[in-house]
Subunit: 288 residues, 4 copies
Amino acid sequence: MHEETTARLLIRCPDKPGIVAAVSGFLYNHGANINTLDEYTTDPDGGEFFMRLEFQTPHLDLSRSVLERSFNETVAERYEMDWRISYAAKKQRTALFVSKMDHALVELLWRWSRGKLPADIVMVISNHDRLRETVNGFGVPFHHVPVTPETKQEAEAEMTRLMGDDIDLMVLARYMQILTRPMVDKYRNRIINIHHSFLPAFVGANPYRRAHDRGVKLIGATAHYVTDNLDEGPIIEQDVLRVSHAHTVSELIEMGQNIERHVLARAVKWHLEDRTIVHGNKTIVFQK
Amino acid sequence: MHEETTARLLIRCPDKPGIVAAVSGFLYNHGANINTLDEYTTDPDGGEFFMRLEFQTPHLDLSRSVLERSFNETVAERYEMDWRISYAAKKQRTALFVSKMDHALVELLWRWSRGKLPADIVMVISNHDRLRETVNGFGVPFHHVPVTPETKQEAEAEMTRLMGDDIDLMVLARYMQILTRPMVDKYRNRIINIHHSFLPAFVGANPYRRAHDRGVKLIGATAHYVTDNLDEGPIIEQDVLRVSHAHTVSELIEMGQNIERHVLARAVKWHLEDRTIVHGNKTIVFQK
Amino acid sequence: MHEETTARLLIRCPDKPGIVAAVSGFLYNHGANINTLDEYTTDPDGGEFFMRLEFQTPHLDLSRSVLERSFNETVAERYEMDWRISYAAKKQRTALFVSKMDHALVELLWRWSRGKLPADIVMVISNHDRLRETVNGFGVPFHHVPVTPETKQEAEAEMTRLMGDDIDLMVLARYMQILTRPMVDKYRNRIINIHHSFLPAFVGANPYRRAHDRGVKLIGATAHYVTDNLDEGPIIEQDVLRVSHAHTVSELIEMGQNIERHVLARAVKWHLEDRTIVHGNKTIVFQK
Amino acid sequence: MHEETTARLLIRCPDKPGIVAAVSGFLYNHGANINTLDEYTTDPDGGEFFMRLEFQTPHLDLSRSVLERSFNETVAERYEMDWRISYAAKKQRTALFVSKMDHALVELLWRWSRGKLPADIVMVISNHDRLRETVNGFGVPFHHVPVTPETKQEAEAEMTRLMGDDIDLMVLARYMQILTRPMVDKYRNRIINIHHSFLPAFVGANPYRRAHDRGVKLIGATAHYVTDNLDEGPIIEQDVLRVSHAHTVSELIEMGQNIERHVLARAVKWHLEDRTIVHGNKTIVFQK
């Protein structure tokens, strides 16, 4: 597969007969070759239909813009599709947010520096000035924007100014601030957060202490899109590690951080590969 | 290891220097040979200490009752121990409770019939008459005790009568009734329940439907001792299975049941082998 | 989804542009509605292409045989497809084979009796007479066919006679006999076996004893199609459990059996749902 | 727990009655307070006995050397013990070895720099000059010692000179060279290696390619002590990740590296905390 010629088409529409035939027929007729096709329907009989196609465009008989316009007119409108095409060669411009703890941030930067996260990481923004050297070591600009309850709006305005108009993805890699509603709305389904998770849940302060006191046998992490409901957005990925009564609170925290690193990295990768479609409060994830 | 001569000593006391030396010295001086020793302290400096010893008694120079009395006088009182000795050859008399779903019950009965659950399963009690044949097929008596909101007290009285005075363990293998507080009190730390678990938790009705709508990536099960707080007692064991957006609600339920089977069986086995000690709302589990 | 109207189309052919469009267009034009579509290519540029479609046929404008003939003529021949259509309502006639250990057999029978294995289990064949009562308890005929090295051919002839001409699937649920090559050839890609697996592998006698002596931290199981190379056929499913140095050989065996139960049940279910396609010594598994 | 006063006693001897009483009595009588005690016997009746004690020494009425001599005379000789005491405050001097791939090395250095690996990492030695900057960024000296088949002996002599006489642990973090027998002998049970693992095993070249062609469903990693039998030494830790037929060889390699990072880090941590005892070709691991 050649990245330069790889495109992805994401579709969401009411399910009805003929969608796969219409889409694949369109691509075939215009010289595109499908590599992978994933689809999901909530109900074949009147439900919602989701599809992801990855295709090669070397012999494309049209320019991209003409292809997209043609697709819209001949297929998308007929099936009332919510759709978009992305091109693997055009990496998503990504801003990472962090507070003081570096574990999730370093995991992302390290994978990215090895070519394993197909993003264009353009900056790291932090409400503390602690990780500047680490970030710069990866060749990424670091911006310190202090945040207090009183200055949150100004701080977010400054962050928005720093990010400019063409940021595709924000990743909260242990950014311990709640974003304002306008910020969340502006980047809807384009902000990924990571947080610890337990069975049962421990909402509120000191969750690891309480998980320890309760003697849980599993600790986990959840990566999700940020919505107005804190920590309640559409889940992208989750995982757990086994623990015992003998682990101290600080050991649980360390183990929790190790899961957070991997869960967040997987979620971000799937987003960057256009494998996720948000549907209500749920994420369809077309993973391998 | 010979089951007939295997004994287990469970201890709980304030932590202070010398406990291990006192206990192991006592056993050695009376001809007992320690096979395994597990211990845990919440804090070596003034915390709570827990210990489980499994030892062989072939050359014991005392009868069991004299040994126990001697231990109490020379060791246990000095360290203010809460303790008990159990003998592997004396299997715990166990009653299983079930409603309509047989998955957890059959798993327990099947493991037991193969000699893998060291219990003396003396009866199955159900509020439905549906699983009589299945239970009898394992050679276990089945009692049908209908329960309605109005008759719950009488029903529990009947169950108590059926169980008699020497039931050591009650296992709720998908018994969909809440026990009354007197019943819970009577068998404190001797009733094990199994229920589904999710990250995050979905309290209330239709949890699998809601987990499906939320797009969780893991579904799990928790086995715990029953307390007055429904589904909130000390956790013994937990596990999860990976799921995807494509699994239907009924598939999630089936997968959840498969985890429940194994989580409950492990928890019951550990209880029967005296590997668990309840401490507040937490269970110390000395598993291998 | 209505089982009576559900059909599945499995395809394998050289990859070239237009396959998805051709197949989905054909189905659409004949009134079939696609529920799910999975595909995989070893290489979009001249590799091997695999596809599974599940579709509904309520409004089919053709009989099944006409549909199949038409598909062959208008699509399959053009793309040199190896293909077949199956119908969910026509369950696969399945024979289970077992020796003395019942764990894998009982798991399959129990899931099947609850409606969770979409098979038509028509008989159990064993080289021992030990599990007759268990099998009959599930309402399934049991046939005892003794096997010795000298009589293996006659024994297999008798088994073949018992199975008749319309057995779709043979499952070796801990059947401790090696099948002869003619038997394997006759049911190629239609015999599923389960065996223990370790990292590293312990080939030969007493694998659990050797895994114990080596101090492995994981024990596992592999379900695979049977080929002439013993235990080396195309893998369908694998899983592991964590163990420690403290587990005895007999505990490892018990844990291994618990994994075998689940790995085999999953593999058989996927086969029955037509989710598997063998390619060389590899199995493409289109699981959810 | 205060690291400065924490000591650990590791014991191995023929199992016989009275060991626990003798050891714990000795420690108690000399003012040491046991925090944790783990033990294991291959057979209570004449087998091999292993024990790890972690104890606090704040009120010790003896100097360390007197304590050790006294223990030897009054306890160890009587029970024919192979034993040693280590002190948590004296971190093990550790040398890391690497070739070109940085994943395992960076994971160790990152955990160590955050205080999560209780070692004194004194140098990194590599047969390539590729990771110097990365290593120096963590404040650790980097030594490039080229190795060719002809110069292996001289190269190892140079490495031995660099390490000096007081290296406690060598970690091969993807060091793609086989050590000579004298080197292995000199650091017996003090060299930890990491390598990929599969079920079944693929010995020889291109294991990931062959695992891909075989369609394995799990890929894993094993950390072990190095012996003369390449990749066959006593196992310390293992883990696996689930994969599918759709993962490419390079994706399998990446996933395998992610497991290697964690398996090696856990194994090294357990070694550094004196939780491992080698017994024949097996490692007793007293993990929490």
